[in-house]
């Protein structure tokens, strides 16, 4: 667990590399297409996933609340945008992901997990069926490892194209649809976890954008893949909408934590399988029946018999934040560890997620986390902490 550093050391810490334990020390910190744009907007820049990235503009708390009530624009261009093409790409990928990818219809997307040969989670990812093949978005901190792993395990006739000439923007919040449909007409026709190509810009020279109705804040919203050369113009146009402000990584983290969404490298890593990571929903029905993916024996056994430990939400009594690395006890016995935690602006209290052993992880179980030698009462609680507001097909809202 990170002990508190001096105020000076905290201020000097421009990198967040302790968050990227699975990443080799980068030789050079890279710049994203919108680097200058963030600096012009007054962002504080930190190192994250090998890139200079904005952690905040006006402040994490204000940005968090703005996103929950209006719309926030996030630059997530550090994430890896991959295109898998070639006959049988979906079937081949199914050897190392537990989702029903071959049944995915064009324009539909699915959350899935990249598994190592023992069923441990190497990454979480979004997979969309597109006319060319599969569009896969992976985490920035592990994208190079993912690409190497995919190349090693996919047949040679499947091509992996890393689309590093594209930026990725996420517009999130209840008013995201109002703002974006003004900039890119027609996007309001998408439902949650659907995607498509939309034209943006002058009618004489429109630019195709790949847009999905998805995100990682628990709110309605969109993710927009745009050629890097056009990213600034698009970001400017979106931010010119009255509902929209640019939002940094700090609020992205507190928003996703409230939404109960795991952060890879913290709440998920190769030590844990999908069932332990409370992502059993990502193991599709057909795959459960058929097996035949990496670690399927371990994973199907955990599904049948229950996992030995499980990622759960924890509400925290009092005001002291319980952070990553804090041990969790039942009496004198350590029964788990916190993997994400902090103050939740929309909840108005600290919240956390962590792995808790079987027998202690039922909702309502009261445990104690240890912070700087003090015991803090925590209660296993259902996720999300803040209800999701997705624009689902068939829903009445």
């Amino acid at each position: 667990m990170r002990q508190p550093a001096s105020v000076a050391a905290t201020l000097e810490r421009t990198d967040m590399s302790e968050e990227d334990e699975f990443e080799l020390e980068p030789i050079e910190i890279l710049e994203l297409p919108l680097d200058a744009w963030h600096r012009e907007k007054g962002a504080r820049i930190v190192e994250f996933a090998g890139y200079h990235m904005p952690i905040q503009y006006e402040g994490i708390m204000a940005e968090h609340i703005w996103t929950r009530e209006n719309a926030g624009l996030f630059d997530v261009s550090h994430m890896g945008q991959l295109m898998l093409t070639g006959d049988g790409a979906a079937e081949a990928l199914e050897a190392m992901v537990p989702g029903d990818i071959s049944a995915l219809k064009e324009g539909k997307m699915r959350y899935s997990l990249l598994l190592d040969e023992d069923g441990g989670v190497l990454d979480d990812m979004m997979i969309t069926a597109v006319p060319m093949g599969l569009y896969v978005v992976v985490n920035g901190a592990v994208k190079w490892d993912d690409m190497g792993y995919l190349r090693e395990h996919l047949p040679d006739e499947i091509t992996i194209n890393h689309m590093d000439d594209r930026a990725l923007l996420a517009l999130q919040g209840p008013k995201a649809v109002d703002a974006l449909k003004r900039v890119v007409p027609g996007v309001d026709a998408l439902y949650f976890m659907e995607a498509g190509s939309f034209f943006w810009g002058p009618k004489t020279d429109p630019e195709p954008l790949w847009i999905s109705r998805s995100g990682y804040t628990g709110e309605d919203g969109f993710e927009i893949s745009v050629p890097a050369a056009h990213a600034k113009a698009l970001a400017d146009q979106i931010c010119a909408q009255p509902e929209v402000k640019p939002i940094g990584l700090g609020a992205r983290d507190s928003l996703r934590l409230e939404a109960g969404l795991p952060l890879y490298g913290h709440d998920m890593n190769p030590e844990f399988d999908p069932v332990e990571a409370s992502a059993a929903f990502a193991v599709s029905k057909r795959r459960r029946a058929e097996g035949g993916f990496f670690g399927s024996d371990r994973i199907l056994n955990a599904l049948a018999n229950g996992p030995a430990r499980k990622l759960v939400g924890l509400s925290v009594e009092g005001k002291l934040p319980v952070r990553e690395g804090a041990p969790v006890f039942a009496g004198d016995t350590q029964v788990g560890v916190i993997t994400s935690g902090g103050f939740a602006p929309s909840v108005g209290a600290p919240i956390a997620m962590g792995y808790i052993d079987a027998g202690h992880n039922a909702i309502g179980s009261t445990l104690e986390a240890e912070v700087r030698g003090k015991r803090v009462s925590v209660t296993v609680s259902s996720l999300p902490f803040v209800p999701h507001h997705y624009h689902r097909k068939g829903a009445h809202t």
């Binding site: 508190p4 201020l11 983290d253």
Partner: protein
């Protein structure tokens, strides 16, 4: 009364043999939204440079060190109910603790306001 500053971004305002300690406006502006502060207990003995208090922003926990050695007169209990005082009035209502100095010569190694401003400008 004289105010001194440390390279760890604490301020200390000395009034005779006692003093008030907090973190600077620069520190709070860089830390961002403060959500928790832990102040030392009355009568606690602090050593110059040792842990004295903890301040937590949304993102991280930071130690506040004792700028000088001494005995704690009182911690600022108001921070428990409203830690955002550290943001809104860091060098006033957002103070952390009051201390009786055990060795006033320790103040000689601290910066005055002009020297601290130059230090911050150089960061």
């Amino acid at each position: 009364m004289t105010r001194y500053f440390t390279e760890d971004h604490e301020w200390i305002e000395v009034d005779g043999a006692s003093a008030t300690v907090g973190i600077t406006d620069y520190a709070q502006s860089q830390l961002g939204d403060i959500v928790f502060a832990e102040v030392p207990a009355t009568d606690a003995t602090l050593k110059k440079g040792g842990d004295a208090a903890v301040v937590e922003s949304v993102k991280a926990a930071s130690d506040v060190y004792a700028p000088v050695s001494g005995t704690v007169i009182e911690g600022n209990d108001a921070l428990e109910g409203d830690p955002s005082l550290v943001n809104s009035d860091p060098e006033g209502e957002g103070w952390f603790f009051k201390i009786t100095l055990s060795d006033t010569s320790e103040l000689d190694s601290l910066m005055d306001a002009a020297a601290y401003k130059a230090f911050v400008d150089g960061l």
